[in-house]
Symmetry: C2
Subunit: 478 residues, 2 copies
């Protein structure tokens, strides 16, 4: 029998993340609830899965997809006319008029064209379909871009700068690509802003260990909620240019900026409005996803990347690497088309579409403010305000007792906190540690949940937190 | 600017396959048709993409999925009752009742359970949900299994035995996993049967180059159309046991066996009906897919593998490796459920389901016979009969003139043949070379096409072939 020693050492290196451990615990608790728990259900606010949180999907998107899946619905009298016209158009873009056919590895050309039009309109800067690559989610796209750059051994291994904190899915993703991860610290006291000094520091510290070739940025920030302004983006671009780094910009929450006087500006727009020495040379890959806040279609697995200023010979390998995936799921590709070209004013579905997406944005904005204020009132908790995205990332100042307990158990403070919160109150929060924060203690909270769910989460969290601190609080920590 | 020399050498190693070159040419020709070509459209019979060939999808599957995508259709009066009941049940299996939610990495437990029930019923041997792993297509599943086994360097690198000919997608797939591919010859003159001698020969020849750890089998055979009987399967299992090889069995065409007195028997059934020394020890991973002949839902990207007799510590890494994929597309997972548990006698959708799938099988069976007979009448062509699957794999005996021309152009004979066939007649056939056949000349023809398309393909092929041979035919070759 194949023993575990025979398993690919690179595969064996992948360990359960704290997130997986917590999720397994949540599953276990869910099964046991009826027997012994004081709560009726586990509420998961550790990850952005809006449909699980029972927020409604965008009707227009689902209607069009239903017709594409079962074209006999083109005759259905209850569906709006624009739904049927759009479905007809999308079906024509599929080989054999069926979502069951393979597509080109880089995606349906019709959808790549729609994405290019969307970006052109968004930025006022031309975008071209041949620079757009569709894949099964933005994370897959990031993986492909990084895999392409991974090379060397020992001190010549490719290094990728990543923020701390970063999306909790990033570590396992980039680890698999076999690159050296070089964290740069975000400035918590400045609302998790990117600071140039920290970028230089990170680069300096790693120069002898690897060959840094790319910098990953999450904007709007996951899990920080920070949204960069033009000046900050310009600084990062200048840094990347000076250090010859490729910009890998995760812009999946571009549709959910709600901070006062803050708007989403894409890295591409800023780059192309800078001097020629930047606009024509800095290599940029930007990522977007159907799992974005307003669509939230995580289960459909579709996203894309736009690649600019890249050598065509290198571009060839984006396409070639994607061939390994055969096709991105077609329903996901069509949904991307609907995301980037939604109903327009005057269309029968326009009003409902606007209503639904505005509701999501209002929920986010309202929850962000509410949770931040609530958390800052809890003893031993401080939370920066968010300007966009779907997370808050509060800091916990825990009493010595629990820190010692964590040490004894061989756990990080935040992982133990999350375990107890889950066991005692049935709330699954994310442990900050896995976002690359190791020397302080943070929680990751998804705020894109209905308001009654949020009531329940805050009540449970507060009750747990005060119990924990009440029992072991010391003057220094409280 | 990043130069192509900086691209990951493992990525750079991936070259365009003959299939890609031919597909690109087909695309180019399609664009030019209106100007200068004698045909009105390019017909692709190189790959199994039944919906592109305008064969109809299974209505029940599409109806249920449409309701799952847009649950307001539960109120639709025109949809059959069993469609709505089934959709309701599947929605309940999704977190938040939405296809937009993430699922566990190994798939929805409801669907894994359905698959285990299907296998149990098919084989009369118990199957367990925890041994089933759902992924984005059977090829992704094969990739994951092989990646898990890949290890070593130089002469200790993992070797995988693969048939020649093999599915044309297998080489790029396994190449990426960085294992040594060890071809074993199938017996063309015996209808492409697997012969024990050839397995031993292949193993003998490679012992010093690598550590053979697995054998891949395609049954029903892609692209050969061969279907193994119980005795042949037993022999392969005994061989694998003696040589301590893991069996990787691609059974995606299990639903399409039409050979006289031939039925599909799974490797698992045969294995578990053998003596304990085999039944309890031989490690087996078997693969199935939604892209199977009768469903043909290639664009939905879903498949699964069942893993038996594997060390639980090793099993853990199947799950762990799948985590990198986040979730398999949910609509694809639900479609798998519908594939393995179709409508039952008495259900409103039963009759239509049976009618549709029998039509596919009848088309296959009829086309297989017709094409084989047709090809064997062409000068310089011999074609083994197929018993299952969706391909025929005829052999071409080409005249010296064209062989010399191919040599001059640096092309394999069959690639040149396919290029000319495509350019002159607009028929895209697969070149046998990429299925690992290098010393003789074969075509891969997908026969799962509507009968009028087939008429057109055969007419064009025959006209091209006779022109080619008529011009350069020599007595020895004709």
């Amino acid at each position: 029998m194949t023993s575990v020693q025979c398993v690919n050492p690179r595969v064996r290196r992948i360990r359960d993340s704290p997130q997986t451990v917590l999720q397994n615990l949540a599953e276990h608790i869910t099964k046991e609830i009826s027997l012994q728990k004081p709560f009726k259900e586990v509420i998961d606010v550790s990850a952005g899965d809006t449909h699980r949180a029972v927020l409604k999907p965008v009707s227009f998107l689902r209607q069009v997809l239903a017709v594409c899946v079962y074209p006999a619905l083109l005759e259905d009298k209850s569906l709006p006319l624009d739904v049927k016209i759009r479905a007809q158009k999308l079906l024509e873009a599929c080989d054999g008029g069926s979502v069951g056919s393979y597509t080109a590895s880089s995606g349906l050309s019709h959808v790549r064209q729609s994405i290019a039009e969307f970006i052109t309109k968004r930025d006022g800067i031309p975008s071209f379909a041949e620079n757009i690559f569709i894949c099964a989610g933005s994370q897959r796209a990031i993986m492909i871009a990084v895999k392409l750059l991974a090379s060397g051994e020992g001190t010549t291994r490719t290094g990728v700068l990543i923020p701390a904190p970063c999306p909790h899915t990033l570590y396992p993703l980039l680890d698999e690509a076999d690159v050296v991860l070089v964290p740069y610290q975000l400035m918590e006291e400045k609302g998790w802003a990117v600071e140039l000094d920290k970028l230089h520091q990170a680069l300096q510290a790693t120069r002898r260990n690897c060959e840094p070739r790319a910098i990953y940025i999450s904007n709007p920030g996951n899990p920080t909620g920070h949204v960069q302004d033009r000046k900050s983006i310009e600084e990062v671009i200048q840094f990347a240019a000076a250090e010859r780094l490729i910009l890998l910009v995760d812009e999946v929450y571009q549709d959910s900026v709600y901070g006062k006087d803050r708007e989403f500006i894409s890295y591409k727009k800023v780059l192309f409005e800078m001097d020629k020495e930047y606009a024509e040379t800095v290599e940029l890959v930007s990522f977007h996803s159907l799992s974005s806040a307003c669509m939230g279609e995580c289960g459909m697995r579709a996203g894309y990347m736009e690649v600019v200023n890249m050598d065509p010979e290198v571009m060839y390998y984006f396409d070639n690497t994607l061939c390994g995936d055969i096709s991105t799921p077609v329903t996901g590709q069509l949904a991307l088309d609907l995301m980037v070209i939604p109903p327009q004013p005057g269309d029968p579905s326009y009003d409902m579409y606007i209503q639904e997406t505005l509701f999501t944005l209002a929920t986010l904005s309202h929850n962000a403010k509410r949770v931040q204020e609530f958390l800052n009132k809890l003893p031993g908790v401080s939370c920066q305000p968010a300007m966009g995205g779907i997370y808050l990332f509060p800091r916990l100042h825990l009493p010595c007792g629990i820190k010692e307990q964590a040490k004894l158990l061989g756990l990080k403070d935040d992982v133990l906190y999350c375990q107890k919160l889950l066991e005692e109150e049935g709330v699954l929060a994310g442990a900050g540690q896995y976002g690359g924060i190791t020397d302080s203690c943070h929680l990751r909270l998804c705020i894109l949940v209905p308001s009654d769910t949020l009531d329940e989460v805050l009540a449970r969290l507060s009750s747990f937190h005060c119990r924990l601190l009440g029992g072991t609080v010391t003057p220094r920590d409280a």
